[in-house]
């Protein structure tokens, strides 16, 4: 059944990785751009050195760790969920950098490509980063002039997630 009902051509690329290396946007974008692609929505998050919203504070650096094999499997799951909700999405790249990362450094990238910009491609990328922050096992410790503390999320996955 699945083999006969394949909305997604086999050549739709999906990239997911945990890395200690710099995130290379151009390289990733090239890998998820097909001849039929006309739009990419890219979200990238970086280390914020000065936080104003909420409790204002400074950040010296963030130290990330991951449960790497599970994190990569859950990134694949996020990509599968994106494709189920937005079958028009062509390429997906989900990359998290780990290790000690300083302000202004990109830490995460989610990019989705599609034929056109009005296909849900923005929403797909937004869903991707929100979902990563719920179910992909990655953590960060914040080191600031006032000390250091682990940042903890508030999402408790349910059975099947």
């Amino acid at each position: 059944m699945e083999g006969n009902f394949n909305l997604q051509p086999d050549n739709f690329p999906t990239i997911f990785s945990i890395t200690e290396d710099e995130i290379d946007l151009n390289e990733l974008l090239a890998k998820i751009t097909l001849t039929s692609t006309g739009a990419a929505a890219i979200f990238t998050g970086m280390v914020r050195g000065e936080t104003v919203r909420g409790e204002a504070h400074q950040t010296d650096y963030l130290e990330y760790e991951a449960y790497i094999p599970m994190a990569e499997a859950k990134m694949k799951q996020v990509a599968d969920e994106i494709r189920a909700a937005w079958p028009v999405i062509e390429g997906i790249a989900i990359v998290q950098r780990i290790g000690k990362l300083f302000p202004k450094t990109p830490t995460v990238l989610i990019a989705c490509t599609a034929a056109h910009r009005d296909t849900g491609v923005f929403e797909a990328a937004r869903f991707g980063i929100d979902r990563l922050k719920e179910i992909v096992p990655i953590w960060k410790k914040e080191v600031s002039p006032d000390g250091q503390f682990w940042v903890e999320g508030d999402y408790f996955p349910k059975p099947g997630e």
Binding site: G45, Y64, E65, A66, Y67, P69, M70, A71, A73, Q96, T107, V108, I129, L132, K133, E134, I135, V136, P137, I138, W139, K140, K141, W150, V151, E152, G153, D154, Y155, F156, P157, K158, P159, E161
Partner: protein, 84 residues
Amino acid sequence: MNMNHVKLLFFATIRERAGTKALEMDVPDDLTIHELKEKLSADHPNLKESMKSVLITINREYAFDEAVIPQNAEIGMFPPVSGG
């Protein structure tokens, strides 16, 4: 009683409180996740507080209190995630 050899992996705050990244142990064959948490709380007082809001995985999938731990399981224990 038959025993099951399992590997525990700790991350973030729980790794720091445990003082180690990994622990191998023998547990009774039909032990549930809930019972494992109680055992760890008793054996490692440092972890008692962490066990209240810990996320647990069995073989890299999220698992819940009533789950029976399968043979040679890889069990992850960590706080709610904070990637991005």
